[in-house]
Symmetry: C2
Subunit: 185 residues, 2 copies
DNA sequence: TGTAAATTGGGACAAATGTCCCGCGATTAA
DNA sequence: TTAATCGCGGGACATTTGTCCCAATTTACA
């Protein structure tokens, strides 16, 4: 449910001493938005601690939470690789501490650090796989069927999500989520 | 609507002479399934011509079509990179001709051909971006709102989709699609 | 500490989508 | 040629989800 990538976090820690000032640290408060949809990205982030939620806001004002990302996950790499504006905004769910590097630096690492290249490939491939499965499930099952699974996963995690977030992740309204929660248990 | 990657197709054509027998060609008939969900992949494919549909079959028997892929698109790379079984099946929509390479060869290209590495990164990043947007839209709009957009895109393409495929792509039943098609025009 | 804002819970009704079923015409296979 | 299958269209009804609204509770903060 909360995706992490400890291998990548480890690698960054290993690279850090040699990278000198190329990698900096940034912090954000819970609830703070630090990547904004449809804008140019300035930096690529790797989550050092905390949890964030990438979310898409559609023209009708509704929001969809793509996933929840924790330690070692990357932000902005899709845009850096494609050279496009951001697809989604990213909000801190908890206070977060991030490693930050410039776009040039990111490409440099991709080209010169094979281990980094491999981990980014793997991270992207995992994103594709995960989102494919999530997508299919959300379309092919009713939320009443999916909710119990999510609840199990949530029980296994530490963080208590707000109803808003859970509904946003499921792509339904809070009202519907409440109805489902009442319906079973 | 039908994703393509002509840069990759071009690159493969360039590599081909030097690669000798490492890259072979395979063909499949329209409607034929050539990648099966939950199995080990043996080869990575690049579409030389034709259109295919990756689809996920859920335990309740329903199917969801992730996307439609045409010339230059890759198949099996996610599994090769992650070392996992397939997430989805792939059916030929039209007759297809595919370049095929082994998993080892694929990794070798990734490591030794920078242009190949870059294009695979870009392909994966594009998949992530596209599926994120598709996912959000499907959850945040009604199908009545999305259908017109799809129809425009379809009109721009050559291939006429079956209602089954269109419904599968939208994640709704054929019955619902028919209702929508009648409703407006 | 007190007030405003956000979160939660839910009633009532409307809209969207699914399910089941039937029939028709075209394509496929025996 | 005949039977079987498949794609298409749609009626009738059930289920799921959304929308709008209001109230109770909690949280944030001035």
């Amino acid at each position: 449910m909360i995706q992490t990538n400890l291998d990548l976090l480890q690698l960054i820690n290993d690279i850090l001493p040699a990278a000198g000032g190329a990698i900096t640290i940034r912090q954000f408060d819970a609830g703070q938005r630090f990547i904004f949809q449809e804008q140019e990205i300035l930096q690529i982030y790797i989550i050092r601690s905390g949890v964030v939620k990438p979310l898409i806001t559609e023209e009708n004002g509704k929001e969809y939470i793509l996933e929840f990302l924790g330690e070692g996950e990357m932000l902005g790499e899709v845009e850096a690789i494609r050279g496009t504006k951001t697809v989604c905004s990213v909000d801190a769910v908890t206070p977060v501490s991030l490693y930050a590097m410039g776009v040039g630096q990111f490409h440099y690492f991709l080209q010169t650090v094979p281990a980094f290249n491999t981990l980014v490939l793997r991270l992207l491939a995992t994103r594709v796989a995960n989102s494919s499965v999530k997508m299919a499930r959300q379309q092919l099952y009713t939320m009443a069927e999916l909710l119990p699974r999510l609840q199990k996963m949530l029980a296994a995690q530490q963080i208590a999500f707000t109803k808003q977030d859970l509904a946003g992740y499921m792509g339904i309204s809070v009202r519907s989520l409440n109805r489902l929660l009442k319906g079973d248990g």
